[in-house]
């Protein structure tokens, strides 16, 4: 059984608490469509990662077996602390390359596609990142940390990052010096100039300070959340693949192998020379958050789809150890097709017209 299963009620409870506190303070931190999309993207990623995660763990365990140099005493707390600190260091690089290499950004962009910033944003995780993330943790395998240590510290790192996705907690004094906090993580999710490519840390922010990517939140310029090439969709499947499609289209429209390769491996902001004249510049004052009409019946339908999705996910996580790989893929595929269709339906012209009426 996947350990993340035990955290699902905890995640939902904290979202409910954040909603309640925000309501009491008169803040509007949640929009239904955005929240539902975040939850749906999170669920899709869990379905996909039951297969993708196996690939990661398989690679890791084979490398530990063949090349792991040291034996670690699992009863010694120091083993776990060293592993966690090292994991966090390599996470910094996973995250940084996920932002600074376009083809890897295509996997990570979905996490930043929300134009809100709340605890549900934390659940908006990528379904396609599994293919490259394991590579960065090879040094841990070479050091001989057993696969169970890798899983546990990975989970700690992931779960830690949940609570930093909130606007309700301000600056945390001296903790800002070495920890990833809600304040410095808000900067990471901002699309203002000072926020771009900053604060990649998972638990510790010392890596950002060490490698020059740290930025403090500014009182005079609050972060504007989202990405500069917005998703403009509520479809969780499209959210995961749209940037791959954009890169493919850009590469096709670009002449010369050098520039075609740049489309994949340069930073996400790189523009081919022939398209540079038409490139849109980002103007913060003109930024409008994506929004579509959502009458009550649509809200009810959206909530129902997420509830059904959650139930299916929990069921899947419970039964998946007894399923064959083929059954897991079929189950996941069926759920993803449903999400894809729901996502399409939300923006279908007839639905939008009915919503207007």
């Amino acid at each position: 059984m996947r350990p993340i299963l035990y955290f699902i009620p905890f995640f939902f409870l904290l979202i409910a608490i954040e909603m309640w506190v925000a309501h009491r303070r008169g803040l509007k931190l949640y929009r239904l469509q955005d929240t539902i999309t975040s939850l749906n993207i999170g669920m899709v990623s869990q379905f996909v990662n039951t297969v993708g995660g196996i690939i990661t763990l398989l690679m890791y365990s084979i490398i530990v077996d063949r090349f792991g140099a040291f034996t670690w005493d699992l009863k010694n707390p120091l083993t776990w602390i060293i592993a966690l600190v090292l994991y966090d260091f390599f996470y910094y690089w996973v995250h940084r390359t996920g932002h600074e290499v376009n083809i890897l950004w295509a996997a990570h962009v979905v996490h930043h596609s929300s134009e809100e910033f709340n605890l549900s944003t934390a659940l908006r995780q990528s379904s396609t990142g599994f293919y490259f993330r394991w590579v960065f943790y090879i040094p841990l395998a070479l050091l001989g940390f057993p696969v169970q240590v890798f899983i546990v510290v990975g989970l700690i790192d992931l779960v830690y990052q949940y609570w930093v996705h909130t606007q309700l907690i301000g600056r945390l004094g001296f903790l800002e010096l070495f920890l990833v906090t809600p304040s410095n993580h808000r900067v990471h999710h901002g699309q203002n100039d000072y926020c771009i490519d900053k604060n990649y840390g998972g638990i510790l922010s010392i890596w950002d300070r060490m490698f020059g990517t740290y930025a403090d939140e500014r009182e005079d310029e609050k972060p504007m959340y989202g990405v500069r090439k917005p998703l403009h969709s509520w479809n969780p499947i499209w959210g995961n693949v749209h940037h791959y499609v954009a890169i493919y289209k850009q590469a096709r429209a670009t002449s010369g192998w050098r520039n075609k390769l740049m489309c994949f491996f340069a930073g996400p902001g790189w523009v081919p020379p022939e398209q540079a004249a038409h490139a849109e510049t980002f103007e913060p004052s003109k930024f409008v958050r994506f929004s579509t009409p959502s009458p009550q019946w649509m809200k009810t339908l959206a909530i129902a789809s997420s509830v059904v999705g959650t139930v299916l996910l929990v069921h899947f996580l419970v039964v998946q150890p007894n399923l064959t790989m083929g059954q897991r893929i079929a189950y996941s595929a069926a759920v993803m097709v449903s999400y894809f269709l729901i996502g399409l339906a939300w923006l279908h012209p007839k639905v939008l017209k009915a919503a207007h009426e």
Partner: protein, 200 residues
Amino acid sequence: MNSLAITDGLLLAVTAYLALQRHLPIALRLACGVFGVAALLGVLRFSGVYPLPSWHQFASMLGAASAFPLLAVAVLWPDSLAARNTRFAWIVLCITAVIGVIVVGVGQKRIYSDALALLSLLAVCIALVRTRQWLGALGGILMLAALVLFALKISAGSLLVPGDLLHIGMAAGLLLMSHMKPTETVMTRKPDIDSLSVVN
């Protein structure tokens, strides 16, 4: 201390020296860095100071699967981004290393890295002979010969084992190759990265 530790030490000295030469293409320096790490682990292993045989094996595999192709990129396409730009040299290194880890480290198909190293050096030799860069070509041929001798487990009498020949051949070959004349394009053309800016 055995002969392998000494010849690995020689390779380490040469690769460290070349990796620090700022005038050399970054791809060549990076490839030397990978060979250097493998050589350092070899020194630690064969001298008995701190043997980590699995790491030496891993680094050697990375050298064959990623550093040789990177070396080939530096010679075959000297004005490419991968040869001249740190970011892209690292990307080529990472991609080839990952494929190497999957195919050789996980899939145990050692022939992949052996063949890749051999083909890379063959391509380097042909390119250098065609452009009449004799010193570099000699270096390439030395490395190729050393690799073939190592693969065939041929030793030079009782003094040098196949591993020694590989280390010496690589050290001499890299040193010679670093003296090859850069082509005109290398000297005049700057990588087209001025418009590189990163967003999000």
